[in-house]
């Protein structure tokens, strides 16, 4: 890890006035590059720095900003989670556990308890992919601008099976799988003090749109909150993360399902999968298949089958297709 200077910001405005680059913008830049970037929990940034992928000249800590870690709930307005709230704080929030079960489940299975005590929600959304070609300083991959995705014909067992022809990396945030199923919005503030709310699905950027970024954040912008609409009393949800190790691991496949149930029938459904494509995927057609019906095993299986219809697996990750079919079906049945 190269040397850097350290500044603890006193406010969002203070932090935004200092920062001049996103972490993604400085991937691969040599040290002494005059870059000033944010750090919250720093779980991902420290990893990128230790690997030598990112060498900021100055780090502005936003952990010191007061009030950015609030978790508030209101029956009408829904849930607001400050960007600096740690995953551990979200995991232990009783209201989230009661009303947004799939989010609680996704957060509780992210990383280790130790990591969750440091990792913030904002940082979780802004983290970079775990693709080992991207994480390697020896590979100038598609995401680093070379036009070559080494995963296409390389070690691709953990890679994408959908929308994967240019870059087969998958987004690392399993928390966002659940947030998307609850139709969360990301609140972003810019250096002029303007705030905007972005649908979380529009927050993530596919590599075919811009290979060097995974989200829309610009250098003069900071996530301040995530807002989640209130859920109806009949809303049920469930999250499943499929991993290679039982202890803790990155998802091989994950799914979050929310079902709005009235009179034994599903009125609305949201199904979102992660670790399938370079961004978390909302599955419209499988969700539509559930709407208007009472949920049974046959229907749940159908949703899983539809979801995988257009999959284009690589040499070593076709196993993900039956895994996704199974966990989508299972999550729907568990949610009811």
């Amino acid at each position: 890890m190269h040397k850097f200077s350290w500044y603890e910001a006193g406010s969002v405005e203070d932090a935004l006035a200092k920062v001049n680059a996103t972490v993604s913008e400085i991937v691969g830049r040599k040290p002494n590059n005059s870059s000033v970037v944010f750090k919250a929990g720093g779980v991902d940034l420290m990893d990128l720095m230790k690997e030598g992928l990112v060498n900021p000249e100055t780090i502005v800590s936003i952990k010191s900003i007061p009030g950015l870690d609030k978790i508030e709930y209101d029956d009408k307005a829904g849930l607001r989670i400050g960007a600096n709230a740690t995953l551990g704080e979200i995991e232990n929030n009783e209201i989230i556990k009661e009303k947004y079960l799939a989010l609680h489940q996704a957060v509780a299975e992210a990383g280790t308890a130790q990591l969750r005590n440091s990792a913030t929600l904002g940082g979780n959304l802004a983290q970079r992919t775990r693709c080992w070609y991207f994480r390697s300083i020896h590979h100038v991959c598609f995401r680093k601008g070379s036009g070559v995705c080494y995963a296409q014909h390389g070690e691709n067992e953990f890679h994408a099976i959908i929308n994967n022809s240019k870059c087969a990396s998958v987004h690392a945030s399993s928390v966002s799988t659940a947030l998307m199923a609850f139709k969360a919005k990301v609140v972003i503030m810019d250096s002029e003090g303007k705030k905007k709310e972005v649908e979380i699905g529009d927050f993530f950027v596919h590599p075919e749109t811009d290979e060097k970024r995974e989200n829309i954040l610009k250098a003069n912008e900071l996530i301040t909150e995530v807002v989640i609409p209130p859920v109806t009393t009949g809303t049920k949800s469930h999250y499943i993360k499929y991993v290679a190790r039982e202890s803790h691991d990155w998802a091989l496949a994950d799914v979050a399902v929310t079902l709005e149930m009235t009179g034994g029938k599903c009125r609305r459904a949201e199904i979102v999968i992660g670790a399938a494509a370079p961004v978390p995927l909302r599955l419209d057609e499988p969700a539509k298949a559930l709407e208007g019906h009472s949920i049974n095993e046959k229907l749940a299986k159908k949703a899983g089958d539809i979801a995988m219809r257009n999959a284009t697996p690589l040499a070593k990750n076709a196993y993900k297709i039956p895994v996704f079919r199974a966990i989508i079906k299972r999550a729907i049945l568990k949610a009811v």
Binding site: K3, F4, S5, W6, P31, S34, K50, T112, A113, S247
Partner: protein, 212 residues
């Protein structure tokens, strides 16, 4: 961790990139010299109300850390991790560095009472917080119940992961005084042990819960 060549001269003289002076002007402060970073600013850093914010580093700055109830002063660069500060600067080698990436949890310490990876925490971030390491949990004369139970149940082999296992288990039992085996497994699943001592670690943790 790779050590870079010392570029501090370039930072202060060449003006390449953002100089510390220029940066501080932007921050609304008027004067600063490099030496100032070891003097007056530090008292501000430690003050409860941090009104006078300054840029620290990239060279070593003197900070104070409250470790196991005792305030210790040390000179660290901002890039120094808490794990390195504890081990290399203060000789508190009970905290281990395994993967150095937050995956194995051998570096677990408590920060304000919560277990964190000290390998992913910067020493400068720990200023003003209560740090508890294995050295502060119990003493040779007066072992923590979890330490006693680990000895009694033969819960370590090579011992490298043990201090962090103990820190995690002790924190867990504080908040869950009466756990079942499944809860203990979940609580300790972040801590890797390559020798495979987990069955005895779980036994020891359950046994300790009965003594606490």
């Amino acid at each position: 961790m790779k050590k870079s060549k010392d570029k501090s001269v370039r930072y202060s003289k060449s003006g390449k990139g953002i100089s510390r002076r220029g940066f501080l002007k932007g921050a609304g402060l008027t004067t600063v010299g490099t030496v100032a970073l070891t003097g007056g600013i530090l008292s501000d850093v430690h003050a409860e109300e941090r009104t006078n914010r300054e840029v620290l580093g990239p060279d070593a700055v003197v900070i104070s850390l409250k470790i196991n109830g005792r305030v210790r002063s040390l000179a660290v660069e901002p890039r120094t991790t808490l794990a390195s500060a504890l081990r290399d600067h203060l000789g508190l080698t009970g905290t281990k560095i395994g993967c150095d990436r937050g995956a194995c949890s051998a570096c677990t310490v408590w920060l304000d009472g919560k277990p964190v990876n000290s390998c992913l925490t910067l020493a400068v971030e720990a200023v003003g917080k209560e740090i508890t390491t294995i050295e502060g949990l119990g003493s040779e004369e007066n072992l923590h119940p979890v330490q006693e139970a680990f000895i009694e149940h033969d819960a370590s082999q090579c011992g490298f992961c043990t201090p962090a296992m103990v820190m995690t288990a002790a924190h867990f039992l504080k908040h869950n005084p009466n756990p079942d085996l499944e809860e203990v497994k979940v609580a300790l699943r972040g801590n890797f042990c390559r020798c495979g001592t987990h069955p005895n670690v779980f036994k020891a943790t359950i046994a300790a819960s009965k003594k606490m």
